[in-house]
Amino acid sequence: MKASSLGEVIVVCSFSLSILIVTFMSGCSTSTVVDEQKSSSAKLSMDSEEKIVIMGRRHGNSYETEPGFIDCIGNNISRSENLNVVQEKNFLDTFYPWFEPRIAPLNLNRMKVALNSDMIAKKIEELKVRYIVWVDGSTETSEESGSMTCGMAPSGGCFGFKSWDKTSSYEATIWDLKGLTEKGKIKVDSKGSSYILGVGPPIPLIAQVQGVACEGISDRLIGFFDSE
């Protein structure tokens, strides 16, 4: 092959690869919609010692709100605005078994019944838990297609193409334990497609669907509180 032809081949290949990468990069972006509903336009107040607990709903038949998602929201909130957040696991262990999936209060009336127990009410007061944020939802994988084989190619790498879509849908409900009222809801829906291209070493282009949903819900939650 002549030098000029070789150059043309390299240019064509580079161009094709660029188009492929640009296609993948645009493909693995996510779309997110966040809605909120507040009981009043005023910010939620809390003193410097009061705390928020973020908890996942796990009573559904076919899904459970991922503990990692709850940790993500908790970390974002406590990092961003110096709001005091009680870790979900600590709260569940401290109040065991009253917030386990089988018997956790699903509405404010049931929460009122739970607080009729002196032990629970005393502990809530002792820990200065003011708000409970219940997060219900999950991230599902759908539309999986393609296949990839690794270790079979002569180079020992991977060969093939795999893609999948992810959909995150979560709703957060804020309960104020002082007065037992619902202060608002935040709903987030996020979608995105991910790809793995196997041409030797696998090239993953993963859409951070759940991460984006976590950021969306965390930002809105912070906006609910007057953290000064």
């Binding site: 401290t94 065991y96 078994p97 018997i103």
Partner: protein, 188 residues
């Protein structure tokens, strides 16, 4: 045999937030309970879940939260050295699991069926209590089967604890026994 999965359940169980009853009990957990392992061999795959130690620790924590005193035995003593109000003997009746590839849903599920024999201090049967606990965990991207089964088993153990704590006081035979225990004190 193709694949093999062995899960040793290790967990830090919480104490229960509950008012303790003023009774001393004997908790009878024999070796088949404390060393319990579930083994399933199916479709060229062997799954072993060892949960004896963890479930023994859970019951110790739960009953210590519920009662004033708990003495542990491997068998019910025929001539007890100290008087106890109740003996509670626990056995695993059954354990079942389902994997995501066997169902249409992306979750690992565990069911554990326990039988609790509740006897009074003299060894007379008060109630035979069957508890079915359930735990599950969703599949995670690149998450291991061992980890998922561990989490699901832990969830099932916590669920067993929930039922013991919340339902014990609602068993009519137990309510009746408590009323009888209280009666002489009220008369004196």
């Amino acid at each position: 045999m193709g694949c093999s999965t062995h899960v040793v359940v290790v967990s830090e169980h919480p104490t229960a937030l509950i008012k303790e009853l003023p009774y001393k009990i004997g908790l009878v957990l024999d070796n088949s309970f404390t060393d319990y392992s579930f083994i399933r061999e199916k479709d060229d795959e062997k799954i072993t879940i060892s949960l004896g130690k963890s479930q023994s620790e859970l019951l110790n924590k739960i009953f210590n939260s519920m009662f004033q005193g708990v003495s542990e035995f491997t068998a019910r003593p025929l001539s007890p050295t100290k008087p106890l109000d109740l003996y509670i003997s626990v056995k695993v009746e059954d354990l079942q699991l389902s994997l995501p590839r066997e169902t249409s849903v992306n979750i690992f599920e565990i069911w554990i069926k326990y039988k609790l024999e509740i006897l009074d201090g003299k060894g007379s049967n008060i109630y035979e209590w069957i508890i079915s606990s359930y735990g599950r965990t969703q599949t995670r991207f690149l998450g291991s089967q061992e980890r998922a089964l561990h989490q699901a088993t832990n969830a099932a153990l916590r669920d067993a604890g929930v039922q013991i704590v919340t339902d014990f006081h609602q068993i009519p035979e137990i309510i009746n026994w408590i009323n009888i225990k209280k009666a002489p004190k009220n008369e004196s």
